[in-house]
């Protein structure tokens, strides 16, 4: 048996053992998401616009992750809306900056990797870069968004008379707490992939001024920082959307109450 298969079995066993029913669901979410990822790549392969495919893929992945594990409710719906907004914002930022900096595709140092592959494939790699960045940060923004919306829901449950402003404030405060650890998670995940390449540059004594202009370095830095920007943006967006959704429900029920009193 190959090592990845053994690891997959171990992961399934651990998730079932520790997470019970929800663990099994989490495991299948991972599989579904991986399959969605493959389908997304196949669509891009056949020449469909990468950005449109990616946005559609992001919606599907977010729906699977949120609704399959947590069900359809105020928390998950507001998270879905917030994730969508942040995905669109990130597209705006990364597409403009990424095209300007021309960090698509592969750098000079990666020539060996693509040496035996066709490189003239009639695909827009600048758009594929956006796809790469969005997929990379999607998991993180879903995570942060659902954490904030479910905490805000708890806050609201404990004190239904809370004002919209205070609810918003507590949402942002919760978000700030998550911010630090989440940026760490992503930064380390990317540093993991960064290492061989930093060693490579250090070994060759490439001057810093040179490294700063290399495509490989720039695209890596872009990916890390765009993910960071996504995580930062999701905090106020989720807080605002969740506050609006919770308060709308509240004003509806208040109206009903007053209507009852009049009767």
């Amino acid at each position: 048996m190959s090592a990845p298969i053994v690891l997959l079995i171990i992961l399934f066993a651990l998730m079932t053992l520790i997470g019970g029913k929800r663990g099994v669901k989490s495991f299948f979410t991972l599989l579904f998401n991986f399959v969605t990822f493959l389908i997304l790549i196949i669509f891009i392969y056949f020449g469909v616009d990468p950005i449109k495919v990616t946005i559609a893929g992001c919606i599907i992945i977010t729906c699977i992750t949120l609704f399959y594990i947590n069900g359809v409710n105020k928390k998950t719906v507001s998270s879905l809306i917030s994730v969508l907004i942040v995905v669109l914002l990130t597209v705006l930022i990364t597409y403009n900056m990424g095209t300007e900096a021309r960090i698509q595709g592969f750098g000079y140092e990666q020539m060996e990797t693509v040496a035996y592959l066709s490189i003239y494939v009639h695909l827009n790699f600048a758009k594929i870069l956006v796809c790469q960045i969005l997929i990379g940060l999607l998991g993180a923004i879903i995570d942060v968004s659902i954490s904030i919306s479910s905490s805000m829901n708890e806050v609201y449950k404990n004190d239904p008379s809370i004002t919209k402003n205070n609810l918003l404030k507590s949402g942002i405060n919760i978000g700030k707490d998550i911010l630090g650890t989440m940026t760490n998670t992503l930064i380390f995940a990317f540093i993991g992939g960064f290492m061989a390449f930093i060693i490579y540059f250090t070994e060759l004594h490439t001057p810093l001024a040179d490294i700063m202009n290399r495509k490989v370095f720039c695209s890596e830095v872009f990916q890390i920082l765009c993910s960071g920007i996504g995580i930062i943006l999701i905090i106020p967006v989720t807080a605002i959307i969740m506050a609006v959704i919770l308060m709308r429900k509240q004003s509806d029920s208040e109206k009903e109450k007053t209507a009852d009193e009049i009767r």
Partner: protein
């Protein structure tokens, strides 16, 4: 014993917050100034480079050409005639002309479309009289874009995160320093795994202390992270040894200047760390909160609420890691597909390392849940005995 202390803290906080506002104002002004200065510096730094830099003043596109290559891919090529002004060195101010061929995909290295006002590195050939005979396009000057995105990130994190954002930034900075020292040590011949382990230990201690301060919560999160990371790496090593590295294709690693296995393990170690740290902090701070609210809570129900939280975050957290890892392989995945490889072959061979990384990271995340709960319970119990 607890109440007055907390009250005092609250009052202190209120007093501080007025001052905080003033600090924040001063701080944002300093920040604004700093970003304007750095903006200016990276936009006008040509004279600091020894390489020749040219600014493009005109681009004329000539003929579009279509070609078909081996795998039936049809590609369009465009020729660009470019006129540029040299910005630095002895030839400053002189005009040069060169050609640039661009493909539709713009996949590799210098294959990129150029625009007016782009700054590029060029190599110039001089004649006997030190006059420029011809020039060649080398690469785009990208430093200002790196600076822009860094400025945007820092500004946003401080604007939305406030002081906590500043803390996160400081922790990122510390980690970058630790990382560079570790690489430097490795370059001087120290064992990579040893250096990476020590660096990881420092990463964990620094990041968690900065995020959650000096208290029991931090201690249990640190121990939980260390133990969780250790166990997941151990599992990875055992599995790879037992299967004799079947299905682990080290030859797919890029930028290799050293034997791949230790580098792969060091990468896994650092990659898993962040996710496990996140889980450990969430669980230990929640359990502390529950314990603080109800000191008489039974051990069993404390463990149960810990597990409940763990189940909640396990799915989304492993999702985060999986996407962070596989996203990087999208461009190469497409090239392989276009070169005629099958999907199953690509998953089995070409992205096997990314899949392994994601799996080991997820295993670490799941494992660290019971480990952190166990450590929390032990530490809290000790703490209670110490109190009474």
């Amino acid at each position: 014993m607890f109440q007055p202390h907390k009250k005092a803290k609250l009052i202190m906080k209120n007093i501080m917050s007025n001052k905080h506002n003033r600090y924040i104002l001063i701080f944002s002004l300093v920040l604004l100034f700093a970003s304007i200065v750095s903006f200016y510096l990276v936009s006008n730094n040509e004279s600091y480079y020894s390489k020749t830099i040219a600014k493009i003043v005109s681009v004329t596109e000539t003929e579009d050409k279509k070609t078909e290559n081996d795998n039936g891919n049809i590609e369009t090529f465009t020729n660009e005639k470019i006129q540029a002004v040299i910005m630095n060195g002895v030839h400053k101010g002189e005009k040069v002309n060169f050609q640039n061929t661009v493909s539709y995909s713009q996949t590799v290295d210098k294959d990129m479309s150029l625009k007016v006002n782009d700054e590029v590195f060029v190599s110039v050939n001089e004649g006997a009289d030190k006059k420029i005979i011809s020039a060649q396009f080398q690469d785009l000057k990208r430093d200002k874009y790196v600076a822009y995105i860094i400025i945007l990130f820092v500004a946003l994190i401080l604007l939305i995160g406030g002081l906590k954002g500043l803390r996160s930034l400081i922790s990122v900075l510390f980690n970058v320093i630790i990382f560079s020292v570790a690489i430097e040590l490795f370059m001087h011949g120290y064992n990579l795994m040893l250096v990476a382990s020590i660096a990881s230990l420092l990463f964990i201690i620094v990041s968690i202390s900065i995020v959650s301060g000096k208290n029991i919560k931090t201690l249990s999160a640190i121990i939980g992270t260390v133990a969780g990371t250790l166990f997941s790496i151990l599992i990875a090593v055992i599995v790879i040894r037992i299967t004799h590295s079947t299905g682990v294709h080290y030859e797919q690693m890029e930028f290799l200047t050293h034997p791949p296995e230790p580098i792969f393990f060091a990468e896994i170690l650092m990659g898993t760390l962040g996710g496990i740290m996140d889980i450990a902090i969430s669980i230990s701070s929640a359990m502390n909160e529950i314990y603080d609210k109800n000191n008489a809570i039974e051990r069993k129900s404390l463990i149960q609420s810990g597990m409940e939280i763990g189940k909640d975050i396990m799915g989304t957290m492993s999702n985060t890691l999986v996407f962070a890892y596989i996203s990087g392989s999208i461009p190469i995945f497409l090239l392989w597909l276009k070169s005629g490889y099958s999907i199953s072959n690509i998953i089995d061979v070409n992205i096997s390392l990314e899949v392994m990384r994601a799996l080991i990271g997820s295993i670490g995340i799941v494992l660290s849940i019971p480990i952190t709960i166990f450590i929390c319970v032990i530490l809290l119990k000790k703490h209670r005995i110490g109190e009474t």
